[in-house]
Symmetry: C2
């Protein structure tokens, strides 16, 4: 983790950059070359001032009155987020969720490649899943070393998630994306992000009657 960057720029700002990048790619796919903070803001439900302020942490990307050049801003955001390369990712859990993740087509174009999928269930080992075949979780250390993966996805049942996280960290993984609905206990140097649909549902129902 870069102490310098993480001190200077709030993590919440960093968290918005991938959303800007996704939106810029959608505009580019629609054949657009130029956009504005106003247009991005309308798409995203964020104020144009916020978008300009967020981007200003990293330099000058647009000119007053002419807006942002989309390919240039995409390119710069990819560099800032270090996705001007492909990051190898390992996935643990070859159930229906692991299968869905493995078959998601949008990783490679956005900087990521699933290089291995692991399961402990001997009946699943060897099955084709997305771009690879399911491997024995016992191969984890070797495959992480070979691939240089720093990122892992945890798509195992809740009861196994902490143990899997411990083993991933043990072999050197320090960025975890966890789909199990728990909060993992990890060392400070390990970053965990969570995906849990119920968290989003419960946020919505606060506003419903």
């Amino acid at each position: 983790m870069s102490k310098r960057s993480s001190k200077e720029i709030p993590d919440i700002v960093i968290g918005r950059l991938p959303v800007y990048l996704r939106t810029l790619h959608l505009l580019a796919d629609a054949g657009r070359d130029v956009t504005s903070s106003q247009e991005l803001g309308e798409h995203l439900g964020i104020s144009s001032a916020q978008i300009r302020k967020d981007l200003s942490h990293f330099g000058e990307f647009g000119k007053q009155g002419t807006g942002y050049n989309i390919p240039y801003l995409c390119n710069q955001l990819q560099k800032i987020l270090h996705v001007d390369r492909i990051w190898p990712v390992v996935l643990v859990g070859a159930g229906s969720l692991g299968n869905a993740i493995a078959n998601y087509g949008g990783f490679e174009s956005r900087g990521f490649r699933i290089v291995a999928i692991f399961d402990e269930d001997q009946r699943k080992i060897g099955l084709p899943m997305g771009p690879v075949h399911v491997e024995d979780f016992a191969n984890l250390a070797q495959r992480v070393e070979e691939s240089g993966a720093q990122i892992a996805v945890i798509a195992v049942p809740t009861s196994a998630a902490q143990r899997v996280a411990d083993q991933l960290i043990e072999v050197g993984i320090h960025s975890l994306l966890c789909y199990a609905p728990i909060t993992l206990t990890v060392p400070d140097r390990v970053r965990v992000e969570y995906i849990d649909p119920v968290i989003h549902f419960q946020h919505m129902t606060y506003y419903l009657r």
Copy 2:
């Protein structure tokens, strides 16, 4: 949407309450009766002061020195988030992602029930999936009316997501959880939350070298 509540309490605070509730349930499942803002903060990587401040928007839940009674605080948070009941949810898309969501076992205990799964692919219609059978998307209006669903999950390919969202909104759905990696264009009264693993990956890689 409650104007009163949404004005008084920042949305970012509301967004943390489901995370507190999940953590409290995990502690309860581990046989615990009492916790503290310190312990919750250590679990979640949030300061204890932040947790106390967040909860203070809604009342007094703990006593100085004795901590929080877990079953009581769970109960109160469930009421605040309106998950002291079961919300019907419709799911659109019966591919591998829809299948994974349908088979997620943790909805009902946290306030939600998948009441219908829709697809346009005639080969999928009638297949059992999680708690229900896949139905023709043409039945959407009728099933939403019958079930009273206000919440929908979009698990269709990106190219279909905006059209599906439009149709969901047309039949009265106003809370959407979208798994397609796009930003939907919706009326102001509609709330959309997004789940996109790449957004999390790209947030992580900012800190990686």
